[in-house]
């Protein structure tokens, strides 16, 4: 066991695979000597050289497009977008090409590519650099979407993502990059579609992923003081989604609060809520609560940003409203 930051977990996952397979490479804006805007690829340029850790021009369209094209021709690209907000620039290559090519071509093509997407607010970066856009990509058949919350998961999910023969959206949380946590000495690939239960509980199920997992855990501690025993689920993989773990928990708790950092309207949490309302309705004995960011662009000023983004207090209140 050792301690690693979340960023190191991602880096190690990539590096292990790059050592193993010469077809794996990383490219994106300033990923090279600069080490990436958030330092995630620091040192990789030294180890792997400039062809395998390659700086691109500022052209998100061709970053994703070249990932598609090179994957179609047998490589295993990892494309980094500096911020998930820049998906907007390369959306066509992702949604109309990467996600659909296998299907449109009758299954006769493999697209083993990973797109790394630093996401979320909390660093005062304002509306164009703080979004959470997982709802867009989970909506698109043909994409897989994972969102780790800690170093070990980041590492293990990255191993799986690189081995996958399909386009994988690897969403990373910017605030978590510097957070350290335990990592096993030998990290195994973590299969997609397996949530992890971070805290067992009997009274309410808190479903979350990414940074909000920590808010859920904090909320659970507070709730425990009030005699409410919360179960906390970290989805880790948004699609495929581990419905079994969710339903199993609901059979115990019969109450659920779903938490993410997304603007609440149209959030991926809505998809989870509606799956529960459709498939596990009779287990419920309270309204399904969702906690998200307010339906605003993310404001710049620290006080406003803190107000707009969700926190553990919002979760506590949501849970209490169910009792």
């Amino acid at each position: 066991m050792r301690k690693m930051t979340y960023a190191e977990g991602i880096r190690e996952g990539m590096s292990v695979k790059m050592r193993e397979n010469p077809d794996v490479f990383l490219f994106g804006e300033d990923v090279g000597k600069f080490g990436g805007c958030f330092g995630v690829s620091a040192g990789m340029w030294d180890e792997f050289g400039e062809m395998r850790v390659r700086d691109t021009p500022i052209s998100e369209g061709v970053i994703i497009g070249a990932a598609v094209g090179s994957a179609a021709c047998g490589l295993k690209p990892i494309a980094e977008l500096m911020f998930i907000d820049f998906l907007t620039v390369g959306m066509d290559q992702l949604v109309n090409q990467a996600a659909k090519m296998r299907y449109m071509f009758g299954g006769k093509i493999n697209l083993p590519m990973v797109v790394r997407l630093p996401s979320g607010g909390g660093i005062g970066a304002a509306a164009q650099h703080s979004q959470s856009l997982e709802a867009w990509v989970t909506h698109i058949p043909g994409l897989k979407v994972v969102y780790p919350s800690n170093a070990q998961d980041a590492y293990g999910l990255m191993l799986t993502a690189i081995d996958d023969d399909n386009p994988v959206m690897f969403i990373e949380n910017k605030v978590l990059y510097s957070v350290k946590s335990d990592v096993e000495d030998e990290v195994k690939p973590i299969p997609f579609g397996k949530a992890s239960v971070l805290r067992e509980g009997t009274d309410v199920t808190l479903i979350s992923y990414g940074r909000q997992v920590f808010d859920c855990l904090k909320a659970a501690e507070k709730l425990a003081k009030d005699g409410i025993n919360a179960e906390v689920i970290d989805l880790r993989s948004l699609f495929p989604l581990d419905k079994a773990t969710i339903f199993k928990s609901l059979e115990k708790t019969h109450k659920v609060v779903i938490v993410s950092e997304e603007a609440k309207r149209g959030a991926f949490t809505g998809e989870i809520a509606s799956i529960i309302a459709e498939e596990s309705f009779f287990e419920l004995d309270a309204p399904i609560k969702r906690v998200g960011a307010l339906n605003t662009p993310v404001p710049f000023a620290t006080n406003l940003e803190n107000y707009v983004l969700p926190n553990e207090q919002d979760i506590v209140l949501a849970v209490k409203s169910q009792f």
Binding site: V62, G65, C73, F105
Partner: protein, 328 residues
């Protein structure tokens, strides 16, 4: 020119295949046998044919919404193509793609594409893969004049030039993006001038002159194979039909089509072959009959094939997961 008689004959056959395949597809569309959109390449055959005559099976191409010509020229199978247009399970895409999405990985065909300009970026990616693997393959990226205003043209030209990727950008300048003439969509007349924005060689040629295309693309291919980077080759040509079947071409000035009909690349190569004793009139007639038969076979194959099973809609989304179907 460095070209064998055999090559000329092959080119001729390819052009005939394109012309006849599409002429038949046009009628089949009118008869309601082909659903969706069909964009025909008739009149532009020399470009795809001349360009692809420089390529090997393991070389790549990217194509467009107007892709039949490129695909046939790169060795695509007429039966699988026609079956795809019909939406049958024996089609290239098992009926899931249709005219705009035919691909054949075994021939390096990275797909027709319904998104104008999308192929540019995919071609850059193919070039990147070739460079990374250090082979001497190339990728030819086909695209229309109007697509050169799309974001992807710029991004991919820039990336290909700064990284010296083995991509040949072949612009098929047919003077229009749907109804919008070139003069109304860009302030230039030769798309090839855009090459200088990337410090890339650029040439403009007669796209209906198959030998000019063959040579210009050939030169670009050999530069690319040697690691000397990308080239932009602009081929001036014209589509005889409307943008898609059903387009009444209200936007065309009188006489424009007629002028281009006279530049039909097929009689041109026939004349060349006759003059140079490459094929006789009789051989030409035979070749035409042979290709007619291929098209008939393709149509028969398509007609007789089954439509895909409904369950087939649920696979090929991922390599390893199948979607749930309807609970009816």
């Amino acid at each position: 020119m460095n070209i064998t008689n055999e090559q000329v004959k092959n080119m001729y056959q390819t052009m005939l295949k394109i012309r006849k395949f599409e002429t038949r597809a046009k009628d089949l569309f009118a008869e309601g046998k082909i659903p969706g959109f069909v964009h025909l390449y008739i009149g532009e055959e020399a470009t795809a044919t001349g360009a692809c005559a420089n390529l090997r099976d393991e070389d790549y191409i990217t194509s467009t919404h107007r892709g039949h010509g490129h695909i046939i020229a790169k060795g695509g199978d007429l039966k699988n193509m026609m079956a795809e247009l019909f939406g049958k399970e024996t089609g290239y895409c098992k009926g899931k793609g249709g005219s705009m999405h035919i691909a054949d990985a075994t021939k390096g065909i990275l797909g027709a594409n319904g998104i104008v300009g999308a192929g540019h970026n995919i071609a850059a990616g193919a070039g990147l893969a070739i460079q990374y693997k250090k082979t001497d393959q190339v990728c030819v990226c086909f695209f229309g004049d109007a697509s050169t205003n799309q974001s992807t043209f710029h991004e991919s030209m820039n990336l290909a030039s700064v990284w010296k990727l083995p991509v040949i950008f072949v612009c098929e300048n047919n003077g229009y993006g749907i109804s919008v003439s070139q003069a109304r969509h860009q302030a230039i007349t030769d798309v090839s001038v855009r090459a200088s924005a990337y410090n890339m060689p650029g040439v403009t040629i007669d796209g209906n002159d198959i030998f000019a295309v063959y040579e210009a693309v050939g030169e670009a291919v050999s530069r690319a194979r040697k690691g000397q980077g990308p080239t932009l080759v602009e081929c001036k040509t014209y589509r005889w039909r409307g943008h898609f079947e059903g387009d009444m071409t209200v936007y065309r000035p009188n006489g424009e089509l007629d002028a281009w009909l006279k530049k039909d690349p097929i009689p041109r190569i026939e004349k060349y072959m006759l003059e140079n004793n490459i094929m006789s009139e009789a051989e030409i007639a035979n070749e035409n009959a042979a290709v007619d038969n291929m098209i008939k076979d393709a149509e028969k194959f398509a007609e007789e094939s089954n439509v895909a099973s409904l369950e087939s809609a649920l696979v090929d989304i991922y390599s390893d997961m199948v979607e749930e179907g309807r609970v009816r």
